[in-house]
């Protein structure tokens, strides 16, 4: 028997609803279990996630997340592109954290190359990463509040998100998937007038967060929907590999920005919001507090923005400045070489973890010495966090499952990759 059919036999032996018979045997034949298919096209699943739920009345007895509906094969595609060309492709995995995807990939490549990133570029990266974190949390808050029935939150959050996207368009030329972060730095310096706009946004954002808090934080309906609902302890979360705001909500302050500072995060003074119970309310409140901390980091970034180059001057890695193309033959040769073949990366492998809005986003890159990566893999936090759904929502109400899923903040583009 060939190995393919063995694999197929193993795949087909997995039953999708194994719990049905077990509970019916307990002498309660009149209780009937129902298997309900939530998704893949369901607004409450935040993407194309399919949940196979075994329901006892409206109590969730078993849950199977089924993924793969937006599988794009980006990791494989990146193997066929030179490092430079892989950046805009890799960016499209987790479509709410594009700066993070690009940065994890560029950071891994820079580690392999041994390239020093100028201080200004590091600050500009942090500036955009934190704006991206605010944007991602705003989308999460808007859609999650919508799941809980708070319609106006959605409009408020998307109003502020619009302001962040406007800033991205101004500095990077595109609202989403900006390919701003490049290997060795960033592609362009920030334009004139950008700083004032970011400052205006930073001045406004904390009051907006206060308004969100006025609406939601102590609201009795929100408390009843979220407080003490579907809690999970830090140890169990760690055993499942869950990171990010979910872990911090359970009281473990694990934050890679402080634990293993990268890209000059050690220069910034910010606090880590933690929860106590690890219930849905803590997950909500931790993220909301994180928005305020991100605003603080952005302001510190602007205050301490050092002068200097925005991309490394290593001509073997970064494109030469445009004005040199007309005057310097050497620059033109480097330009042609970098665009057509790209730079060669010494053989080796590296894992580069960063703190994305959803947890530890790690990029693994293996190089075989050529100009294309031999393997690119992303440890996407939403993928790992999703496996906590079933233990979290065991014996909870169906409505609480929707709330828990909202507080998990899965992004299916990142899960399926």
């Amino acid at each position: 028997m060939s190995s393919i059919s063995e694999y197929r036999a193993q795949e087909e032996s997995i039953t999708m609803a194994p719990l049905g018979e077990q509970i019916a045997e307990q002498g309660e034949e009149d209780r009937e279990l129902m298997t309900l298919n939530i998704g893949p096209h369901h607004p409450a699943t935040h993407g194309v996630l399919r949940l196979l739920v075994t329901l006892d009345g409206e109590v969730v007895r078993d849950l199977k997340p089924i993924i793969g509906y937006v599988h794009t094969g980006i990791e494989k595609t990146a193997e066929d592109k030179s490092y430079w060309k892989a950046i805009p492709v890799v960016e499209r995995m987790d479509y709410l954290a594009y700066y993070f995807n690009a940065f994890a990939f560029c950071g891994a490549t820079e580690t392999l190359l041994g390239v020093e990133v100028p201080k200004r570029a590091q600050y500009l990266r942090v500036l955009h990463l934190e704006l991206n974190r605010i944007m991602s949390h705003l989308v999460w808050l808007g859609t999650s509040a919508l799941d809980l029935g708070a319609m106006s939150m959605f409009w408020y959050c998307f109003r502020e998100r619009e302001a962040v996207l406007d800033l991205f368009e101004m500095s990077s030329g595109q609202r989403m998937h900006t390919r701003y972060i490049q290997v060795g730095g960033v592609i362009e310096d920030i334009p004139a007038g950008f700083e004032e706009r970011v400052r205006a946004f930073c001045a406004q954002m904390p009051t907006r967060v206060d308004q969100y808090n006025d609406l939601l934080d102590r609201n009795e309906i929100v408390l009843r929907r979220l407080r003490h609902v579907c809690p999970m302890g830090a140890d169990e979360l760690l055993a499942l590999g869950v990171t990010g705001p979910l872990l911090r909500a359970a009281g473990n302050p694990w934050d890679l920005r402080k634990a293993m500072p990268y890209s000059s995060y050690e220069d910034f003074d910010f606090a880590i919001p933690v929860g106590t119970e690890g219930d849905n309310y803590d997950r909500f409140a931790v993220r909301l507090a994180e928005i305020k901390e991100s605003v603080k980091i952005v302001e510190q970034c602007l205050d301490g923005l050092p002068e200097g180059p925005y991309i490394t001057d290593d001509r073997k890695v970064a494109l030469p400045p445009r004005h040199e193309l007309a005057t310097s033959m050497e620059a033109l040769i480097h330009h042609f070489k970098l665009v057509t073949e790209g730079f060669r990366v010494p053989p080796g492998e590296v894992y580069y973890p960063i703190e994305s809005p959803r947890g530890e986003l790690g990029c693994f890159v293996r190089s075989d010495g050529s100009s294309k990566p031999a393997r690119v893999h992303m440890r996407d936090p939403s993928f790992v966090n999703l496996q906590a759904t079933a233990p979290m929502t065991k014996d909870a109400y169906l409505a609480d499952l929707i709330a828990t899923l909202a507080m998990l903040d899965p992004v299916l583009g990142g899960i399926d990759r």
């Binding site: 109003r159 595109q174 102590r218 302050p253 934050d255 880590i272 933690v274 193309l325 057509t340």
Partner: protein
């Protein structure tokens, strides 16, 4: 900064348990506070715009539909058919076929010119690498973002379409706007 973080570096979030006497207060007091917040937003004015009658102006760095350029004085095409844009394209949506210029049939300023220049806009991801790669500034990303069409074949833009002056459909943001 060291790990583990000091207690000063942590913000502990907390909330009361729902229900009870506090719950009875919150059911009215907090709801009223929320309503006040919502009502106060009325005076902030309208944040939406009436698209497509009104359009959002784009920033100078915005990457919209591509344009090919000519020299203003001679009218010759800037593109010399070097295919660097096609090499840089991560989506492989650009096709360039180069041909030789002759003295009686001169198209571009260089030795060669692009006999065929096609961009498949249904594949383009608007990363702008073509613009970065072009050593002669022959291709740039314009400000047009309204590109939807009824058939896919209409989204393959030929050289003539890319060289033509684009319809002024989407405004550019003025200085300080």
């Amino acid at each position: 900064m060291a790990w583990p973080p000091t207690p000063q570096e942590l913000i502990t979030v907390s909330a009361p348990s729902p229900g009870g006497a506090g719950g009875a207060y919150r059911a009215f007091g907090e709801t009223l506070r929320g309503l006040k917040t919502t009502m106060a937003r009325v005076f902030e004015g309208i944040h939406t715009i009436q698209y497509p009658e009104e359009k959002v102006p784009v920033y100078p760095r915005f990457r919209g539909r591509h344009r090919l350029h000519r020299f203003e004085d001679t009218g010759l095409e800037k593109c010399v058919g070097c295919s660097l844009c096609a090499a840089a394209c991560p989506a492989d949506c650009i096709r360039v076929v180069a041909a030789e210029n002759t003295p009686e049939h001169r198209i571009s300023a260089g030795e060669r010119y692009a006999a065929v220049y096609e961009i498949n806009l249904s594949r383009c991801i608007f990363c702008g690498y073509c613009e970065v790669a072009c050593p002669f500034d022959a291709i740039t990303m314009g400000q047009d973002y309204e590109m939807s069409d009824y058939s896919r074949s209409d989204l393959i833009f030929t050289k003539e379409m890319l060289l033509a002056e684009p319809l002024d459909r989407t405004p550019l943001r003025a200085e300080g706007e």
